[in-house]
Symmetry: C2
Subunit: 289 residues, 2 copies
């Protein structure tokens, strides 16, 4: 299993800033995200308030950040982190079938724009799952609903279709994905039903479909779903001035910590989070010596 001092989750400005500082400080670290870095930055038309770059396009700034990373030999691990587990003293990060171990974690996953459906949070772990790899095997030969908000996740839908008897597929985008045992719903899923366990989904047209389980394949999930026990504040990760979270050894930076949703703020917080992580590592080392 790969081991690092610092795991940084997210390749937007906050994660990049943390990674650059980790490199300067010669720490062992891994940066999870996308090689294309931040879609949000890339799609910004014009950025006027990142000091040093007057009137730069988002595409160009994203390229400048990529160039900075190339020059420092920082690469991005294209892994989707499905869960972070606090093992007391270190963290386990699950990415599909891969596991990573890290002494500290910096969450820089961006603002969460998706609204959870009624029943989703209440039945999480009780028939509702965010991770096909983790929980797919529980639904061999069963009937499931899969709510999916990004095309790249269709290989996970394919994986689930290979296990389940029947899949009701509810994509929030246009797609021609099809399999023999997959029914693409024309009316979107609006809630998950069930008392102690998910047993149905309701559609917008008013109908209900009985299922054994429900998978949400979301581009982003709430951080407290990623890391159990993480204290939130009005939908954002609650942090102190040093970017520490309620979980010891876990820091957060950027849009996931709340407004203002600004590149400069994210860059600053990534820097601070990394310095706090270094201080935490030093304290931990002093304890064990």
């Amino acid at each position: 299993m790969e081991e690092y001092e610092i795991a940084i989750i997210g390749s937007g400005p906050a994660g990049i800033s943390a990674a650059i500082n980790a490199k300067v400080r010669k720490k062992s670290f891994i940066l999870f995200g996308n090689k294309s870095l931040s879609e949000k930055v890339r799609c910004s038309h014009l950025i006027q308030n990142y000091p040093g770059f007057p009137d730069i396009s988002g595409r160009e700034l994203n390229e400048k950040l990529a160039e900075h990373m190339r020059r420092m030999n920082i690469s991005v691990a294209e892994e989707r982190i499905n869960g972070i587990y606090d093992i007391g003293g270190y963290f386990m990060l699950l990415a599909g079938e891969n596991e990573y171990k890290a002494d500290t974690v910096i969450i820089a996953t961006g603002a969460r724009t998706v609204k959870e459906l009624p029943g989703e949070r209440e039945l999480l772990g009780k028939g509702v799952s965010y991770c096909a790899t983790c929980d797919g095997n529980f639904y061999k030969g069963k009937t499931i609903a899969v709510i999916c908000d990004y095309k790249e996740a269709e290989e996970e839908v394919d994986f689930l279709a290979g296990l389940a008897e029947k899949v009701y597929f509810s994509p929030s985008y246009k797609t021609d994905f099809s399999r023999n045992n997959v029914v693409t719903l024309s009316s979107p899923v609006v809630s998950v039903k069930g008392e102690k366990h998910a047993d149905a989904v309701s559609l917008k047209d008013g109908s209900e479909i009985a299922v054994d389980g429900v998978f949400f394949l979301r581009q982003s999930v709430s951080a407290d779903v990623l890391l159990n026990g993480l204290e939130m504040d009005n939908g954002s990760i609650a942090v102190g001035r040093d970017m520490s979270t309620s979980v010891k050894g876990c820091f957060a930076a950027g849009d996931c910590t709340g407004a203002p949703y600004q590149i400069a703020k994210a860059i600053g917080e990534g820097n601070t989070a990394l310095h706090s992580a270094i201080r935490y590592l030093a304290g931990k080392k002093a304890q064990t010596e």
Copy 2:
């Protein structure tokens, strides 16, 4: 008297970031500082961790910031703010003989590197002053000591020499400044003496000189000296996550709020402080309507 919605004090990365955002948001503001912007940035040999500019010299980054300001038509008012007064609802800023009025203040004065002398803080306002213009007239025909740590302040020493009978001058740098009634001390002042009022200074060589008052002409003073009642935390301005200070309507950003002392952190905090100031202004406007 000039009036603004926002007064920004300090032309380093935090102040610049705040000013750029104030301009984008079309607020009326004034930025106090130096046209050469930040000496600390300018004198940095190599900066590796301001994302977007791999391996840039401090001089070059300072120039990039200056260019950004020029492109946005932001100028720096070269005024030295000697005092900020919270008049309840707005602030008065004194700069020598000039006064400015502002609804909100963003303090971005950088890290304070000067150590106060014993007696300096205790006797402030009781014979100890930081402002020649404000307090010089109290010492007409009297004997004073002037402790000075930057050459540009010598015109204030000159002003004081024109009022006082005798001036004991203690510069912390090399200078050939001289006036008939000015004695330049060869041994530096190490403390201020006095019970209810300053009445002497002690020198490093052990001798004492009786005086009626003591002026400290410092390049930077502690922020709580600048604005009475400002809560400090271990030498830095105490701030919340939104960069608000203990004084309503006053925000702070950059090195003056504490570690890490980093350009990226200062830029991020300047951005956040400005957005908080805008929110404060909106709330104030809503109250008066």
